[in-house]
């Protein structure tokens, strides 16, 4: 039938193809599992059901809403239309301040309660995360 060489080459190509497909499948699957979506408080208030996936919420830290106890930080993220209460224990970033932009990453308990695992704020005084800017512009 076919020569040994052709056979070898066919096997090689098949191997490469399966490896390629496997790789793409792996990467896409892992992406799907590990991607974190960004939502504004208003978008969250319109959610129909709450799944257990990790999300990011961004907006302004509401004035006089921060309280810090020995094990927990609690504050309110607002996009001037809707609000969400955030609780958090962990490292607070340097520029976390009232009436400044903030992004909190964590799990929704219900439509106005987020248990955060990470808080992001940037080092620049005038910095506003693009997501937050957009969410605020849409209000």
């Amino acid at each position: 039938m076919y020569g040994r060489k052709v056979k070898l080459r066919l096997i090689f190509i098949l191997l490469v193809l399966t490896a390629l497909i496997l790789t793409i499948f792996l990467i896409l699957k892992s992406l799907e599992e590990n991607v974190v979506y960004f939502q504004s408080p208003s978008e969250i208030s319109e959610l129909i059901e709450i799944d257990g996936k990790k999300i990011r919420v961004g907006g302004m830290v509401k004035k006089d809403s921060i309280s810090l106890t020995s094990d927990q930080l609690k504050f309110i993220i607002s996009d001037f239309k809707n609000e969400i209460i955030v609780t958090y224990s962990g490292v607070v970033p340097n520029l976390f301040e009232e009436e400044k932009g903030v992004v909190a990453e964590g799990y929704l308990k219900d439509r106005n309660f987020l248990s955060a695992t990470k808080i992001l704020a940037k080092h620049d005084e005038n910095y506003m995360p693009p997501e937050v800017k957009k969410a605020l512009e849409e209000k």
Partner: protein
């Protein structure tokens, strides 16, 4: 005022040189007798003009000439002179000028160092190089001119972001750029050699120096950035899969692959197409990196003030370059005539090739993780982020065969080989598995993956350290680099497994206690410095073995520009780093405190230095291959 004008005309003259050079190149290419002396002098002149331009920008910074917009935006008259100079490349415009300076310098060096290469090849490489240079000239002059005036002249500048005022960050960009720009030479030279059908063993020997040089600079550049992030950002780690870090890692991955392939090409004249593709992608990825960082698409610590026009320009330029190289590749690349060269399954080149594919896999993971959020944002306006779990999950499992292959591969011979000292290899494997079981046994972590990971890392470590310490013969650079790499992987593993962390909120005078340590918040000291207010916390930490240490983490509130930074207090020993930061939350009595114990932190840095030493040794060695 004056220096801005000089600098601007320096740029224009430099661009003029490029156009003249292309003209002379074409002329010389047809006549092809001897290198036109005008080409050499013009290349030199071009470098000189860019240098004048760069020096005049430095002068503007040193003299705090606020009529210059770049100086106004990024400097302040009270800044120390060192940071005035470092501020030249701490911003978008200045850093591009630096790119251009290095680019012209490397072109000149290339021309001077290739006297014994074929004339046509030199001229063609120079032409491709000039195309890149023109692109950058136009980019700088049109979209990011560092010499713009502002009127009326302001009295004071806006200042440089304090987190950038750091000695390491002053040298990090130039070194990284040396690596990036070095890859442009590889790119041009690979294209020229393809066009002329010159891909040969002697070409490989000649271009290997350039590959090595860019690789060394890139490695050190990444290392410096990583060390800086460790102590300055207060995140307490060395790698965060931040898009900007990824962007420098990608060319490094390709360059490392290329470095190994060049060796195969040099030895056996196979994999030619693969080497060309790698050479092209190295520079393309470096450009992509510049594009992503400079365009402001990436939302990261590096983003300067941004302008969409810039991003668009680099993108178009990038596409032209990619298009050009693809055309050249398909038109001129001849299939290997000696196509029937067989790969014997057990040989050094097979091992290198297999690990090549693993490297490409790692590259695609990093690439997709970095670029996918951008695409999704453009296509669907969904905002997403891809975090460390994604990378860890996809990269770590494949690290295991990669490490084992690396261990065995260095023991194999070219062309056809037998596994010598099988008993030794098996013994090493058994020892490493035993060590891994010993380490993991008492820990509360996933058993199987950790056992395999640690044993493969130890396996590589045992084999390379044996090579490194016992067999003192040829190719010591490779041994040092591979030994460094195994040390790096091991240190990272140990660091990850044994790191401990305490995050808590404390008031002054309070004490925190857990099974491992006691933290007492003694007091705070407030100081007013020249351009910032400082809050220093005084902590006493008692470990469970009775060791007592004092920590003084600091918080700085800068006034120009108004920025808060944490200055971590780090106590480094050979075995462990202890790391502490504090943060204050507005109007609250409590301070946010983070205390970390990170074993073998210093070994991560040392092993990377060892890896680069391997590269440097190989670069200095004239003919290390036997």
């Amino acid at each position: 005022m004056l220096s801005s004008t000089i600098g601007y005309y320096g740029l224009i003259l430099g661009l003029l040189c490029s156009l003249l050079l292309i003209f002379f190149n074409l002329q010389n290419f047809r006549v092809q007798k001897i290198l036109n002396t005008r080409i050499l002098s013009l290349t030199f002149l071009q470098f000189l003009f860019v240098k004048i331009s760069f020096v005049s920008l430095i002068i503007s910074f040193v003299l705090s000439d606020f009529s210059n917009e770049t100086v106004f935006n990024n400097s302040h008259s009270t800044k120390p002179i060192f940071y005035k100079i470092a501020g030249v490349w701490g911003n978008h415009e200045g850093s591009l000028l630096l790119w251009l300076l290095v680019l012209t310098l490397f072109t000149l060096i290339f021309l001077l160092k290739t006297k014994n290469q074929p004339l046509q090849y030199r001229i063609l490489t120079l032409t491709f190089q000039q195309i890149i240079i023109i692109g950058f000239f136009v980019f700088v002059i049109k979209t990011s001119n560092p010499f713009n005036y502002i009127f009326p002249v302001p009295d004071e500048g806006l200042g440089l972001n304090p987190i950038l005022q750091d000695p390491l960050l002053a040298i990090h960009p130039p070194i990284l750029y040396l690596g990036y720009v070095g890859s442009s030479i590889i790119f041009s030279s690979a294209l020229a050699a393809t066009t002329l059908g010159l891909i040969s063993k002697s070409w490989a020997t000649h271009i290997k120096k350039w590959v090595l040089a860019s690789w060394i600079f890139l490695t050190i550049g990444i290392l410096l950035g990583s060390i800086w992030a460790y102590y300055e950002l207060g995140w307490g780690g060395f790698w965060f899969w931040d898009p900007v870090e990824n962007v420098s890692l990608m060319p490094w991955l390709v360059l490392t692959t290329l470095l190994h392939c060049i060796l195969v090409l040099q030895k056996r004249l196979i994999l030619t197409s693969w080497v060309i593709i790698l050479s092209i992608s190295t520079f393309t990825l470096s450009m992509c990196g510049t594009f992503l960082v400079r365009s402001g698409i990436l939302n990261s610590i590096h983003t300067f003030a941004n302008d969409p026009e810039r991003g668009l320009f680099i993108l178009i330029f990038l596409f032209i370059l990619i298009f050009l190289s693809i055309i050249i590749f398909f038109l001129f690349n001849k299939r290997d005539e000696n196509n029937n060269v067989n790969f014997f399954w057990l040989s050094k080149e097979t091992a290198i090739l297999i690990n090549n594919w693993f490297m490409m896999y790692f590259l695609s993971v990093v690439l997709i993780g970095t670029v996918y959020p951008i695409f999704l944002d453009v296509l669907t306006t969904n905002k997403i982020s891809v975090g460390p779990p994604f990378y860890h999950k996809l990269i770590i499992p494949f690290l295991i065969p990669f490490l084992i292959m690396m261990g065995i591969g260095s023991r194999l011979k070219w062309i056809k080989s037998n596994l010598e000292d099988k008993a030794q290899l098996i013994l090493a494997l058994i020892i490493s598995i035993l060590i891994a079981i010993l380490i993991v046994k008492n820990l509360d972590v996933k058993f199987l993956i950790n056992i395999t990971l640690i044993s493969s890392a130890f396996y590589l470590f045992l084999i390379t350290s044996r090579d490194f310490f016992i067999k003192k013969e040829k190719n010591s650079s490779q041994k040092i680099a591979h030994f460094g790499f195994s040390l790096l992987i091991l240190s990272i593993l140990v660091n990850n497994l044994f790191s401990t962390e305490i995050i808590t909120n404390l008031k002054v005078g309070q004490q925190f206690e857990n099974s491992n340590s006691k933290i007492l918040f003694k007091n705070i000291i407030q100081k007013d410095e020249k351009n910032y207010k400082s809050i220093v916390g005084n902590f006493i930490i008692e470990n469970n073995n009775g060791k007592i240490e004092e920590f003084f983490p600091e918080l700085r509130i800068y006034n120009q520009p108004k920025i808060v930074t944490s200055e971590a207090d780090i106590k480094t020993t050979l075995t462990t780093d202890r790391f502490m930061t504090i943060n204050v939350v507005q109007n609250q009595e409590y301070f946010n405190i983070r205390y970390q114990s990170k074993p073998f932190m210093i070994w991560i840095w040392l092993s990377v230095i060892l890896i680069s030493c391997g590269g440097i040794l190989s670069f200095l060695n004239k003919e290390y291959e036997k």
